[in-house]
């Protein structure tokens, strides 16, 4: 049997070199939000830029709802927060502890794991479970690459299993999603910017999955595998060995060629036999004691390398909430590409590692800074994004849009009537039956809205009918256009109506007072189609 042995290789460390020693970072016990503001403010004053003021409370509430539970606050919720001074910490705590947090993060991480490939397999059921139990990110990583023995039906290892047919894509996605480094360029040639990133890295990462195979839907590993060679651009044959992105290798103590071939053949025969009997016996062929995916997890999460793993998720989540990464692009985290706030990134990564990779803590912390709560308005040319002087306006994701469209169209279940338990059930029922529409583009770094969107919104009869379907009848029960406008603006835009809103819609409703139902419908349609609804601003 092949035994594996980790070699510590003094190779190129691709991860950004640590900028300062641990004792030079801010103390461990400072709240995350404070640490963020400390570093962001320091850079702002260095650049002599005065940041935008804090955003109005109603908009901050909307932002937090969208970012933490993936929907706008319903009219009743938005109004409730407006009645008393806003306690941001309390609101964040409530939102991250609500079922919506798990649902929203399952959606977000499902997209993240697909790595821009809409056709990649979904692992959402697993993610939903994992976020419900607040599973640590390192454990989720092991689950997803099939390196844990977690029982359960939710099949996280589908992440690898469904990509086995395209091992190059699998290699790209694992490196990019978990370690922030897209190494596809190295598939055919050296990385254009990091000259030391040779093809060895690409084939080295791919080798961790070389023994994996799909056995009746089970992700197994062969005991014997020939890693083989690849031909570099010069046409020279180079031997492949398992190598992590840091340059650390796992050297297989391979059998002599002849014996290895015999062992591979014998194992193939055994697998074939087991496959024939599988329907009857449900027996799986034996695998190695400590497979190569486990080797990968061990290497990636050991003391020397885990920083890379932690930084990548910190940067991805930072990008999600701040609209611009601490390192841009998020899949180009290498030594040549410096972070805008290196000490902050390092502190956040340390905090994540020392708190057992607790994503809930990290997410709650990221949205608790003053930098997060800035206004998105800026007069004149905006300062560079990496200063975080002004909030970035972010388009809603398809899932955020779909649920928000429903919450705006049907705010009643969210009203504070009946017992808390009854309310929870009503909300759950509404959120479970709301699907995700396919015509809203998944925002990316290079966001463009699709042609489908304006088309559907103005032409699709079904969609037009469902827009405001429950809201309009309830508006009709209110007396006078002022109340109707105020309620509609709360329901769709989650804020009090302005004088401008009252004038615009007041005139519109007045003109069409012979057809009040129709007029209210058009008002709600226009509000839901407005840019203000379409963005997290």
């Amino acid at each position: 049997m092949t035994t594996l042995r980790t070699l510590s290789v003094v190779g190129l460390i691709l991860a950004t070199a640590l900028v300062c020693r641990a004792e030079e970072l801010l103390p461990r016990d400072r709240p995350i939000g404070e640490v963020i503001d400390h570093h962001v403010d320091a850079k702002l004053s260095q650049a002599k830029v005065k940041p935008a003021p804090q955003v109005a409370d109603a908009i901050l509430v909307r932002r937090l709802y969208l970012d933490l539970v993936g929907r706008i606050p319903a009219a009743a919720e938005a109004r409730l927060h407006a009645r008393e001074p806003l306690d941001t910490k309390k609101l964040i705590d409530a939102l991250v502890s609500s079922p919506g947090f798990a649902r929203h993060n399952a959606n977000e991480f499902d997209v993240l794991l697909r790595n821009n490939n809409p056709l990649a397999a979904s692992v959402r059921p697993y993610l939903l479970e994992a976020f419900k139990e607040n599973r640590p990110w390192d454990a989720m990583f092991r689950d997803l690459i099939g390196a844990s023995d977690r029982p359960g039906k939710s099949r996280p290892e589908a992440f690898v299993l469904k990509r086995l047919k395209g091992p190059d894509g699998l290699t790209r996605d694992v490196s990019s999603v978990f370690f922030g480094l897209n190494i596809t360029c190295a598939q055919c040639h050296r990385h254009p910017e990091i000259k030391d990133l040779t093809q060895d890295y690409f084939f080295g990462m791919r080798a961790f999955f070389a023994s994996s195979y799909d056995f009746h839907g089970n992700l197994l590993e062969r005991r014997h595998v020939r890693l083989g060679d690849f031909r570099d651009k010069k046409g020279e044959t180079r031997k492949v060995s398992m190598m992590f992105l840091s340059g650390a290798r796992v050297e297989a103590e391979a059998l002599p060629e002849k014996e290895l071939l015999a062992a591979i053949q014998a194992e193939a025969k055994l697998i074939q036999e087991k496959a024939k009997e599988y329907a009857r016996k449900k027996e799986l062929p034996p695998g190695p004691k400590f497979g190569s995916r486990k080797q990968l997890a061990k290497l990636a999460l050991d003391g020397a390398n885990r920083e890379m793993f932690a930084r990548s998720i910190v940067n991805r989540l930072w990008f999600r909430f701040y609209g611009h990464g601490l390192v841009m692009r998020v899949d180009q985290m290498h030594a040549k590409n410096k972070a805008s706030h290196p000490e902050l990134l390092q502190w956040l990564a340390r905090d994540l590692i020392e708190h057992d990779y607790d994503l809930k803590r990290l997410i709650g912390g990221l949205v608790s800074s003053r930098a997060y709560a800035r206004s998105s308005q800026w007069k004149g040319e905006a300062p560079p994004r990496e200063l975080f002087a002004v909030a970035v306006v972010r388009p809603l994701t398809p899932a955020q849009w779909s649920l928000s469209h429903r919450v705006a169209s049907d705010p009643q279940p969210y009203e504070f009537t009946g017992t808390e338990e009854a309310r929870r059930k009503r909300i759950e029922a509404l959120e479970t039956r709301t699907g995700v529409v396919n015509f809203i583009e998944q925002p990316r770094e290079d966001f463009q809205i699709g042609i489908d969107e304006p088309l559907k919104l103005s032409n699709d009869e079904g969609l037009i009918r469902s827009t405001g379907d429950k809201l309009v009848p309830s508006l009709r029960k209110l007396t006078g256009p002022r109340k109707q406008i105020e309620e509609a603006v709360w329901a769709v835009l989650s804020r009090p109506a302005t004088a401008e809103d009252l004038a615009l819609f007041g005139a519109y409703l007045e003109e069409r007072k012979a057809r009040p139902e129709d007029a209210l419908r058009q008002m709600v349609w226009a509000l839901i189609n407005s840019p203000e609804f379409r963005f997290n601003h």
Partner: protein, 450 residues
């Protein structure tokens, strides 16, 4: 199909509305400049429109328009050159249809910019301008970028007949890592000058968009009132992202709700033989739509090479010759040749510039995987129509096809040549969103091309 010539149409109503609304909306001075540029923007080039065929991935010069049968071994390709309609000009044997049309074409064999990075090459070959320095990765779309040729033409020429002046279909120029490289939108000029992008992967070019029922041309009161309300909300937006969204939303609604303008995107009234002539595939159909769009008054249509997987573009690091022969060259030869013939037969070739380029060429050296790698030191481009003198070769590469040997043409000069055909010169000024003037033509036109 009636033949229309773009210049015969007066400015459409929407343009006037935009300019008329200036004082009412209290727009700033830069907007006034832009509006003035738009009104005075009758460009006097012989070409009234341009179709840009963009070969994503970087096509090998040796296996297209610059065959090197005498190159030393290790660099010499597998294909033979063939004679063309012009004495003394030879091109690759897998472009037989184009070979018969070389009298329309000027081949540039010494184009260069020096970069071997896709994103940089794409930017150069869609803007004719140097891309800004980036911190990491390849250039991504950014509003601070220089404008693509589509954005510039939309700015200078303005929209006509309910159609935006610039359109790109049926996909973005990108690969598995970069959905859309920089250089494709209007950059600093602002989203209002972005081309209309039709990138739906499920859309068969030439058919209706899935699920789309065009609205009636005459709006009902309901539609008018609703659109008016939305317009008011759109105008209240204050951030750039929201304004960009609102403009695109409006543009898409304008184009698609007008049956007349949408007709240009449909191929129902084309003969099956015509579709066959261009090739009944995503690329061929899109090139045919490009011709229809030009007839309908669009100034610039970009058609990038289509592919489903990254190994199906011109980035042929491996199995270069197999892919070129079987997958890449035949559909390009067919569509490009059909376009030239069709424009010629319709009397439109004189007023339509057709350009063929990609981000760079490929290495003289054939690598260990029977592939060629990135090569920005020299590559080939082709211009035809729009006042370009056909039947000539401009510039020369050296024996290996690795460096310009004679008359090097920097890509900015290639674009200056294209712009000159379109009536845009080095003195032509555009004003960016912040009110700063900039000059989209940075190179010197190659006068021998005309």
């Amino acid at each position: 199909m009636t033949r229309t010539h773009p210049t015969q149409h007066p400015w459409n109503r929407r343009v006037f509305l935009q300019t008329g609304a200036i004082s009412a909306l209290g727009l700033a001075l830069p907007d006034l400049f832009r509006a003035r540029a738009a009104l005075h923007g009758r460009l006097n080039g012989q070409a009234k429109a341009c179709i840009l065929l963009y070969m994503t991935g970087g096509p090998a010069q040796q296996e297209t328009f610059d065959p090197r049968p005498d190159a030393p071994s290790g660099t010499r390709g597998e294909f033979r050159p063939i004679a063309t309609s012009v004495n003394g000009i030879q091109i690759c044997e897998h472009l037989p249809r184009l070979a018969k049309l070389m009298h329309h074409c000027a081949i540039f064999r010494s184009v260069w910019h020096g970069s071997n990075t896709h994103g940089v090459g794409v930017h150069y070959n869609l803007t004719g301008l140097k891309p800004p320095q980036r911190r990491a990765g390849e250039p991504q779309l950014d509003r601070k970028d220089p404008p693509g040729i589509g954005g510039v033409m939309r700015y200078l020429r303005g929209d006509r007949n309910g159609l935006p002046a610039a359109v790109q279909l049926p996909r973005a120029v990108g690969d598995q890592n970069n959905a859309m490289w920089a250089g494709q939108h209007a950059g600093v000029l602002g989203a209002r000058y972005d081309p209309l992008f039709l990138f739906d992967e499920t859309w068969v070019p030439g058919t209706s968009l899935p699920g789309f029922v065009p609205a009636r041309d005459v709006s009902t009161d309901r539609q008018k009132g609703r659109a008016g309300l939305l317009g008011s909300l759109q105008r209240r937006t204050t951030t750039q992202a929201e304004q960009d969204f609102a403009r695109f939303q409006q543009l898409a609604l304008d184009v698609l709700n007008s049956q007349k303008s949408w007709r240009a995107f449909r191929l129902d009234d084309e003969k099956p033989a015509t579709i066959e002539r261009y090739g009944d595939n995503r690329f061929g159909r899109s090139v045919l739509i490009a011709r229809r769009l030009v007839e309908a008054g669009v100034a610039l249509v970009t058609v990038p090479w289509v592919y489903r997987q990254s190994e199906q573009n011109f980035d042929t690091h491996n199995k270069h010759f197999t892919k070129m022969k079987s997958l890449l060259l035949p559909p390009v030869d067919r569509a490009f040749a059909a376009l030239l013939e069709d424009l010629h037969e319709r009397g439109l070739l004189g007023s339509t510039l057709v350009a063929w380029t990609g981000e760079f060429g490929r290495t003289p050296k054939i690598n260990g995987n029977a592939g060629r790698d990135h090569w920005g030191k020299v590559y080939s481009a082709v211009l035809a129509g729009g006042g370009i003198k056909g039947g000539q070769v401009i510039g020369k590469s050296d024996r290996q096809g690795g460096l310009p040997a004679d008359n090097p043409v920097h890509v900015t000069d290639l674009f200056a040549t294209m712009y000159r055909a379109l009536g845009v010169g080095p003195e032509t000024e555009v004003i960016d969103q912040t009110g700063r003037p900039m000059f989209p033509v940075q190179g010197k036109p190659v006068l021998a091309a005309f």
